[in-house]
C-alpha cells in the first residue's frame, strides 16, 4: 500500500487509478488511512462484504473480534472491466509491487 502511494505519479502517468477496498468504514478510512497515514488515493468501504463476497475474497473470522475481512488480492482491470493481471498472494506478507503493476500496465490498450 505504501509502495502504491509512493508510485502514484508513475501509476497516474500510466493512466492507472489505484483503489483500495476493505471492510473498514468510511470514518476509519478517512481518519486512519487519509489523515493519519497520509494516503491520497481512493479508499472504499465494504463493511457488508458485498464486493468482497462477489469477488470471492472473504477471509472468514480474520478481522477484529472474529469479523470477516478480505484476503489480500490485487486486480488490474482495463477500461472495459476485464482483468488483465492479478495477484492472488498465497503469503500474507507478499503483496503486489508497483513495478509489477506498471509492467503489466504496459500491455493495456
Amino acid at each position: 500500500m505504501r509502495g502504491v502511494e509512493n508510485s502514484l505519479q508513475a501509476l497516474s502517468e500510466a493512466g492507472i487509478r489505484p483503489v483500495a477496498i476493505s471492510v473498514d468504514t468510511p470514518e476509519v478510512n478517512r481518519e486512519m488511512m487519509h489523515e493519519a497515514a497520509g494516503y491520497t488515493f481512493t479508499f472504499l468501504s465494504d463493511p457488508q462484504l458485498e464486493a468482497i463476497r462477489r469477488y470471492d475474497l472473504v477471509h472468514a473470522g480474520q478481522g477484529e473480534n472474529g469479523a470477516d475481512v478480505a484476503r489480500p488480492a490485487e486486480f488490474l482491470i482495463d477500461s472495459s472491466g476485464t482483468v488483465r493481471w492479478r495477484m492472488m498472494t498465497e503469503n500474507l506478507y507478499a503483496r503486489a509491487r508497483p513495478e509489477q503493476v506498471l509492467e503489466a500496465a504496459k500491455a493495456l490498450p
Partner: protein, 148 residues
C-alpha cells in the same frame, strides 16, 4: 565478584530484537517482509551468543543458577525464533483459496461502495473518471484486510 554472563544476556536481548523488529520495522519494505532475511540474520547472531553463554555457564566451575539462567535465555531465544517462523511461514499462509475470484480475461463484477467522504462510488465511475486528465487505461483494485 561474579562476572555477568554477557553472552546470554546479549543473546536473549538480541533475540527479542530479532523477533519484534519484524512486525515493527522490517515489515515496511517488501524485500525484508516477503522473506524475513534481516530477522533470520539477527536470530543467527543471537543464537551464537546464546550458545556461547551456555558453553560458559556449563563449565565445571559455574554454579547451578548460572546453568539455569543461560538455559532459560537460550530457550526463550529459540521460542522467539519459533514464534516468528510460525507467524511468517504458517499463519501467514492461511489464506482462502478464492477459486471464484475473477480470472485474467474475465470481466469483474460491478460494485457500489462508499468512499472516505461517504459518497457512493461505482466501478463504472472508477473506470471512466479521468486519470491525469485523460480517460483511465486501467484500475488497480487492491483488496486488503483493513486497518486494524
Amino acid at each position: 565478584m561474579k562476572r555477568l554472563n554477557w553472552q546470554s544476556w546479549a543473546g536473549f536481548l538480541l533475540s527479542l530484537v530479532a523477533g519484534f523488529s519484524y512486525p515493527f520495522l522490517f515489515i515496511r519494505w517488501p524485500i525484508t517482509r516477503e522473506f524475513p532475511w534481516a530477522n533470520l540474520v539477527l536470530f543467527a547472531l543471537a543464537l551464537v551468543l546464546l550458545l556461547l553463554g551456555l558453553r560458559r555457564a556449563f563449565k565445571p566451575d559455574k554454579g547451578i543458577v548460572s546453568k539455569i539462567f543461560s538455559s532459560l535465555a537460550a530457550s526463550l531465544g529459540l521460542l522467539m525464533l519459533a514464534g516468528l517462523l510460525f507467524a511468517v511461514f504458517v499463519t501467514g499462509r492461511w489464506l482462502p483459496a478464492s477459486g471464484g475470484a475473477p480470472q485474467v480475461g474475465q470481466k469483474v463484477p460491478d460494485f457500489t461502495l462508499i468512499d472516505a467522504n461517504n459518497r457512493p462510488v461505482t466501478l463504472a465511475q472508477l473506470l471512466t473518471e479521468p486519470v491525469n486528465n485523460r480517460p483511465p487505461r486501467g484500475v488497480l483494485l487492491i483488496f486488503y484486510r483493513g486497518y486494524w
